[in-house]
Symmetry: D3
Subunit: 242 residues, 6 copies
């Protein structure tokens, strides 16, 4: 494997600095600002005592997510989706992913007929916004569940395990962990990996932007992802212990 | 005038603590987090080298604003406007107001064929989001113009004077300055006042929520607004001097 | 004060000829064609035995307004909002204003669980369409309430007092009453004033289009508005007495 | 043929009173209020010096129509299409019909690269709004062309012949001319007929609402339509001669 | 009448080859691929145990239609309506026509509170898609009703008679039957005729694309339509007998 | 590995019967009906001599895809996206995937300033519609390129290699190939795999619907996918050789 110079000077297996700040805003039942380096996402968890139509009367809850990007979170200004009158395909794809990832650690029967909505709004983007969003939304979700438990609205904790996500990719021929924007816009393969704290895969989304990737590259990427997710799970635990 | 107990314990003519933090995010030409107490608005200024169709080829620039509220900026979650597929009437009204207010201090000929878009996104709402947005957006606008001047893209400063805004209202029979949410949702009259640093009115929007207001009440409210705006103009100057 | 030549030849404190024609169309419970000079707005009041969701079961009624402009009400043709697929910001702003203004003279408990919708459609525009709309809609509202009373659907008149509106502005340095289009598109300050027949202000919306306005200008404008609204309240009374 | 009692007391072959008032509003190049009894439609013709994309550079003009109904033109209030965010199928169908009907009497080469838009807005509806719209829009179109000729923008009159429209139907077993709302909502067959002054058919749209109609009924309906259109063409000529 | 050369070499009174294939897809209660020459439309009938709001609780059923065209059913690609965000006027007009035509042979009381939706999707277009759709949708409707009868959900057959449709037109001066695309885009008059098996007219829509048509031309066109519809009714009967 | 009974009776590593029919419709430059068992997707390739705005003037072409599902392709009828006024998140996600997959085998410089749009419309759904769409769209793309080459519009073949896709999943504890609807709606893990004929991965999208999956399960799934894609590449080659 060749010597690589990542734009940020990081080693291939080195994540950006991760910060998880709970209680960032005051109204939401859970409110977390998560930073993966310069990427900053505000994740709030809102509890509502109703469920979508397809679940009504079934005694189950729902966990869903919405994703947005402030117009000038990015290098150049993007149109505001509310002004354009619809959410783009990328937005819908990401919020569907976040929702699936979080539902994978929730016992919806134990949640009862409630909806928890995770709003993930990107204040500043530098690559990896969806993986930061999943990682932060998990912490906001835990805070919302603790709020429900403190009010004795639910008896049993509906969350089992923990969920975190990271991106990996092949940048200039070298597998690297936690792509920033400079790498993301210039890499051959880009993969988002969601895992739980039992070492299982929740979601795997890999795309060959340049040349197709092979089994050995895939294996190297997954090893990096496992390492990064281990660090993220630790960061989540530390944040939740404060 | 009766003794008043404001929910926050403030005196009638007392503003909330105002904070103006420049450089809050890194990509925008101007980026300001403004706080009026618990109300927090992120105001970014984005420079683009194009103008709307109706100005093309006229040698003039444009200053415009967009306003948004994160879904859980409020006590209970509101629908995301991007998901509903349109901006509501309140949103449109506020962003039109912000745009007019800021254009009132810009020489659009001196700006040249450029658009500066002020995105005002409410991270946390506690009353007065539109007045905080105008006050913060002015600072972001100045930073964007300084950026243009530093790159020598424009010769002459197109900004003349300064603009700030505050709300006033009659709460339980007493005129008060800078309404917070508890007051705003329970007052008789609500007025938003935009002024410049020459003491002139840019915009005046007063609504009798309960009983109609009279000339003497109006005069008392305007006097409070003048006091508050004086303090806000000072806060802007101090922030811009750092 | 300098000698002024208004485009219409009117004196500064002179309103345009005001006409209020009841029963203009036949299906609505109230139907009024109001003219402020060449500005002509058809205001209909429709009674429906239902209320919006947020009022259901509370024993209160609702009064709301919708505003529209025929595509060729104006000097050059505007796009039809139905064809563009949405109402513009100006439209939403005006119809919200009309609704608030009319609700200010209605006891919604006495109205009962009914909605009265005031549709204000501009057939011909020459400035001041929103103030004409409010002034005419009040008369249509009274007719709709009389219709309810004649059918003995409501016992007590839910309307208290009367509401009218007029615009004032500073045109070429001189405060003038009831701006027409030629003045409106070329004035320094434009203010819409809504008052009741007790001399109280319901709504005040002033905008400095050119230079910012000062307290003495504001006072002069409000004095003109009071005069104009007095004449409009008389015209409403006369129309309703026929 | 059985003895029929039409709700209005008219004879089967009798049209409602037709009024055509030119110059109804002042801004449009043609502006006509047309009344077929209680049905009243405002038809304006607007001239613009541009054509749709598919005609650009071909030296031909375009004639098109838009149709709208004020929310309370009808017995009970309908939703405003601008507020619902789209034009309904009925609206689109009618405005496509009006456009085709008017294009049938225009030499688009002689019109030059101009668009004439016919806005037909129903102020009051009592059946037959589309046929009144076509009949009135023709007069507005002639006025717009006269305006172009008076300004010497076009040399040759692009309009050949005249176009008018009427509805016919089988009401309680009897063919009748010019259905009003009471008949329209309770008839077996409803047919809209557009003809020119040469006795040719431009458009024929017949629908069996109840039982299917036969050739002899069709022939009786077409004879009634020819009679009615003859009267409408006369009314148009008289209006244009004033 | 001159000697005519139709682009396809057909005689003026000759239809294209008609094929009706039942059971084309497997999930729908009725599924028919209908071909008029190169025009191919997939018509499915879907049964649902609910009715639109305006029929709820009235003991009546509903029959409705939706129409679509695959983007590359045509010579050049058209925009996908789902991507453009709305159905065009032509689409709405056609699906309203199909729905009316089919409702003309259904006793909605006998159907009970059910909706049958006829989805007519054009796989390949060569003129006459709406007439093929009506003709095929009738067969799908019969299959859906047979499905209901086989499950004993309804006792009485709600379908009376049969319905089919064909286009006729004046092509280069000669009345011809069943226009294909080459004729449709170059004809003087185009008429769509819907009839039942009792020889009655359900719907008649004729448009003069070039010169206006006269009574004798209309009569010739209707005679052709009667002939064509006779053949289509036979084809329907044969398909249903298999 | 336990004994498995797949609903279809297939062996775990057995694909459904695959059929690829070229020239299914006549207007498109490429038109392929692909069937994976009961799943049937019509894939058309349309060539247009223009590119999206972001590519204009760069000498490169574009390959993009749109996906749709006929309303009754599924067990119960779904709303028509054109009627609802927008494409859902699932649709956007799938069409973005198809576009990326096909662009991975195209030299866009060699294509020149042209767009090839792949419309993938599901006529009948039984699981695996997106993988069938990619596999069929590749063949339609080759046909469109052959059409361009036959007309000598391009000199060099812009397609390198071949692309196919298949789904794999863990059904009742056993890794299986090519999920049908019965399996897809009841499996623990679902993965879509896109590969090229060089054995490289283009796209990998795995989701744990039930319990999280582990590395050994992932490896088993990828082995199945490689087998299935080998068969699909053969089927493509045979279809293209005819």
């Amino acid at each position: 494997m060749s010597t690589l110079s990542r734009p940020s000077g990081r080693a291939p297996e080195q994540m950006r600095e991760v910060r998880i700040e709970r209680g960032y805003t005051r109204h939401a039942e859970g409110s977390v600002l998560v930073a993966f380096g310069e990427t900053r996402v505000l994740c709030t968890a809102s509890v509502e005592n109703r469920v979508p139509g397809f679940l009504r009367g079934k005694g189950e809850g729902w966990v869903t997510a919405e994703y947005g990007m402030l117009p000038r979170a990015t290098h150049s200004r993007s149109d505001r989706e509310a002004a354009r009158g619809k959410q783009g395909g990328r937005t819908l794809e990401i919020q569907r992913l976040i929702g699936r990832a979080l539902r994978a650690c929730v016992d919806r029967g134990a949640l009862g007929e409630r909806t928890i909505t995770l709003d993930c709004d990107v204040l500043q983007a530098d690559g990896g916004t969806r993986t930061a969003a999943i990682t932060g939304a998990y912490v906001a979700l835990v805070d919302a569940v603790r709020w429900l438990q403190a009010r004795k609205e639910i008896a049993k904790n509906p969350i089992f395990g923990a969920v975190a996500a990271v991106s990996v990719g092949v940048y200039r021929g070298v597998p690297v962990l936690d792509l920033d924007y400079a790498e993301d816009s210039d890499c051959d393969t880009d993969m988002n990996v969601v895992m739980n704290d039992g070492g299982g895969f929740i979601e795997l989304q890999g795309t060959a932007e340049g040349h197709a990737f092979r089994r050995d590259e895939l294996n190297a990427l997954l090893a990096l992802a496992e390492k990064g997710i281990g660090e993220l799970l630790t960061a989540q635990r530390e944040a939740l212990a404060q």
